[in-house]
């Protein structure tokens, strides 16, 4: 799915930096004073209980939400409309166009000004990798849950993003598909694509992650390498999370 000869690895883009980032909606502080630096290498895993703020964190990172206070910097975050974006996001609840599976993929290529003659081939390859060739002409909304998720993934990858945000992108996938996606993530990361991977699957985190961000009630409690995190989660909340307990 990803072109392994991609040159992203040659010159590393700037890291993404959160400085005192907070987000308040309706007087509720949903993200509270997050500071962190995400280098442009490898797979960063984001974990935390439901409602912790993981999806909001990704939205901030993608520039879809503006922080109430603090700043976020990084080469891809503040890209202007109309620029060929190097950021792709797979939403937790995939946003699929009311078109066929095929048209959904063609759409993003078209928007990224992909030449027409390459378009058919690229779409075909993407559908093949996502194992959706049979569903090529099925309206996206009629696809099964897992098929929709695979379509959203294929659509995000087909533009060869430099940074890829995956919000629980394997939640509805069967074990084989999950395995494939994890492999693709590893490949992409190896060729210089930065991946931010939100998941609730502890084993998956161990398999794919390089570093881990643990968010709890809007706060970034821990940011460590995977290895360190599983040796010492660093907070009783993270420990409770790993144990499958509700803290307190």
């Amino acid at each position: 799915m990803l072109d392994k000869t991609s040159e992203h690895s040659l010159q590393l883009p700037d890291p993404v930096r959160f400085r005192d980032v907070s987000l308040t909606i309706n007087r509720q502080e949903l993200i509270a004073n997050i500071n962190c630096t995400l280098e442009h290498t490898g797979v960063s895993v984001v974990m935390g209980p439901n409602g912790a703020g993981k999806s909001l964190f990704l939205r901030l990172l993608a520039g879809l939400l503006k922080p109430t206070s603090g700043t976020i910097t990084g080469s891809y975050i503040n890209a202007k409309p109309g620029t060929t974006s190097s950021l792709s996001m797979v939403f937790q609840d995939p946003v699929l166009l009311r078109r066929t599976a095929h048209a959904n993929i063609a759409y993003v290529l078209h928007q990224q000004k992909c030449p027409e003659e390459q378009l058919a081939e690229k779409v075909g390859n993407a559908l093949k990798t996502a194992r959706l060739e049979r569903q090529r002409e099925t309206p996206a909304r009629r696809l099964s849950g897992g098929e929709q998720q695979r379509l959203a993934l294929a659509r995000a990858l087909v533009v060869r993003p430099a940074i890829l945000l995956l919000d629980e992108a394997t939640a509805s996938l069967d074990p084989a598909s999950t395995h494939i996606v994890e492999g693709m993530a590893a490949d992409a990361a190896a060729t210089g694509t930065k991946i931010i991977f939100v998941t609730h699957d502890v084993r998956q985190a161990k398999r794919v992650g390089d570093d881990i961000l643990f968010i709890h009630e809007g706060r970034l409690l821990t940011h460590k390498s995977i290895h360190d995190f599983f040796r010492d989660p660093g907070s009783k909340e993270a420990q409770a999370y790993l144990d499958g307990r509700v803290p307190e």
Binding site: A79, G82, V95, L97, P139, A140
Partner: protein, 235 residues
């Protein structure tokens, strides 16, 4: 009430007589209203998509004004267009008063607010659904508008039909700017008004029945096109 039964009979006979005059009046009605609807849709859909996508101070105010302009009285529109196109008006030299062009202009003014206001309502929800995806792709507003118009076309068809309904049935504005001149600017509704003022109510009703018949045909054609197009399946 006998008139209502009579009217169906007259309508039937009129249609079958292939009266050249009747058919040219029907033709002009359709020509004027379909042209007006085409222009109004081009304008109204663009305004609708634009207001879904662009946010700016005064946005809500514009929507309120558009909604209010759905209540623009046809006679007032007729008067304004009359004053503009009149020989002593600013565009008098064009000599457009009492021509089908003037009637199209008046109908465009009348139905564009309707089309725009309803389009916003139809596209708003779709935009809500697509918004974050659009922004994650860093699309220009123009690209967003194109996508919304295409994916929202099902609802927009109904909006266009509402505009067509208002245009084809309208009499106040076209009467003033068209003048209901026999063989030149007489259309179905002005003919109906004329027959009504002559007291030939059955004939007036018969013309009304024929007009509704043609509206029905236009609507059926559009709906069939819509459901045969692939659009249906993706909703």
């Amino acid at each position: 009430m006998g008139e209502i039964a009579d009217a169906f009979w007259i309508a039937f006979n009129l249609l079958l007589s292939f009266d050249k005059e009747l058919y040219s009046i029907i033709g002009l009605s359709l020509k004027v209203s379909l042209s007006a609807v085409a222009i109004s849709c081009a304008l109204g859909f663009t305004i609708g998509a634009g207001l879904s996508v662009y946010r700016f101070p005064g946005h809500r105010l514009i929507i309120i004004i558009l909604n209010a302009l759905m209540g623009l009285p046809p006679v007032v529109v007729g008067l304004i267009v009359y004053l503009i196109l009149s020989r002593s008006g600013p565009l008098g030299v064009l000599g457009l008063l009492y021509t089908p062009t003037a009637m199209i202009i008046a109908q465009v003014m009348l139905i564009t607010p309707l089309v725009a206001a309803l389009s916003i309502q139809m596209l708003e929800e779709l935009h809500l659904e697509y918004d974050e995806f659009f922004r994650s792709l860093r699309l220009t507003n123009f690209a967003k508008m194109k996508t919304l118009l295409w994916d929202g076309r099902r609802g927009l068809v109904t909006v266009g039909l509402a505009g067509f309904g208002r245009a084809i049935s309208e009499v106040g504005a076209v009467m003033i700017v068209g003048g209901n001149i026999n063989h030149l600017t007489r259309i179905m509704t002005t003919a109906i008004a004329l027959e009504t003022s002559k007291g030939t109510l059955a004939l007036a009703l018969a013309l009304g029945i024929i007009l509704i018949g043609f509206s029905l045909a236009v609507n059926a054609a559009v709906m069939l096109l819509r459901s045969n197009s692939k659009g249906q399946r993706y909703a």
